[in-house]
Symmetry: C2
Subunit: 190 residues, 2 copies
Amino acid sequence: MSLLKPHIEKLLGSTLSDFEGIERFFQPISLRKKENLLVEGKVCKANYFVEHGCLRMFFVNEKGVEQTTQFALEHWWLADYASFSSQSPSGFYIQAVEPTRVLSLSYEAQEKLLHEHPQMERYFRLVHQRAHAAAQFRIRWLYGHSKEENYYQFVQRYPEFVQRIPQYLLASFLGFTPEYLSQLRARNIS
Amino acid sequence: MSLLKPHIEKLLGSTLSDFEGIERFFQPISLRKKENLLVEGKVCKANYFVEHGCLRMFFVNEKGVEQTTQFALEHWWLADYASFSSQSPSGFYIQAVEPTRVLSLSYEAQEKLLHEHPQMERYFRLVHQRAHAAAQFRIRWLYGHSKEENYYQFVQRYPEFVQRIPQYLLASFLGFTPEYLSQLRARNIS
DNA sequence: CGGATCGTTGATCAACTTCAACGGTCGTGG
DNA sequence: CCACGACCGTTGAAGTTGATCAACGATCCG
């Protein structure tokens, strides 16, 4: 419970007097590597705040290959928001990349939290606005460059993260095959 | 001013008694075809709600080609939220695809609106949550299929919209060249 | 030790781009 | 109202990018 309070305070720009009243809506969950928080076909019952570790969101395409669409590190919220909002079945998986600790805010808990603490509407408005901005940036990035350029830019921008995850996940996230990633790496060990 | 009130009421699930108090923060703007609301290098000063017509967001890549990343039709909000949130220069353009009428909510006006009408925090939280969900869906869609499949699915899903916009914009949005789109069409007039 | 998982390498192949050229249409100025 | 130019869509040839498939080596973990 060490990261959430400062995160809320940072976004709201004020110190929280009643964090206990907010905290009680969250449930901590510890995940082992490769453990799932959500599987395809199930409803995304909660919104997850990463306290420690790393989550990824992926789907399985028609060829049976996992396609990673998103990672979430410390401080980030993750859920399938289409599924979460309407409490309908999801087409995604959410899985721990490494041992991970999250705070889970269930759909019902979030409703009650927002009702009892209306200032949290503002917090989540800002969280989603930021995520929306990040998505716009991401889409631009996907359009703007070849896959090779994408790779180099990503490595340059997030070198520590590239160290942290296996290569096949990086390839999956960048939208190409592990074989192609190997070729890029081979070319560049110059 | 006909679309905004029902949209707010729909998301908040209640009727608005004081719409006049909200309305006054918005400024209507009429745009001719190809007129710009935002150009690269300028700050995205407002958040735009489309009343009638169609906007597109695009950037110019290093080859000088316009890449369309987003369209906004009636009921949709559009802004470069990274630029808007921090009032810093944008890397995007926002342009009218056809004669378009928007309601503009400037950054300062939005701040005041949210301060005076805190229930609007909930409204914008829901707007951004939906947009975030749409972005997740969009990213999945970009990853999931070849460009050819993307084209067919898009035409099937939004046939009326495909009629409405020129082909070179559709190609730009789908992430390929107008020439390739021509080939796809030629193949498929079967 | 043995099997599964991960990364690598190379050959072949399909998807898509690029470039160049052409025809139609639309709108604007004369 | 016509003519011209700009813009848009089309076609085809050649070139690139990245996928696929198959085989192999290394490493990790039981």
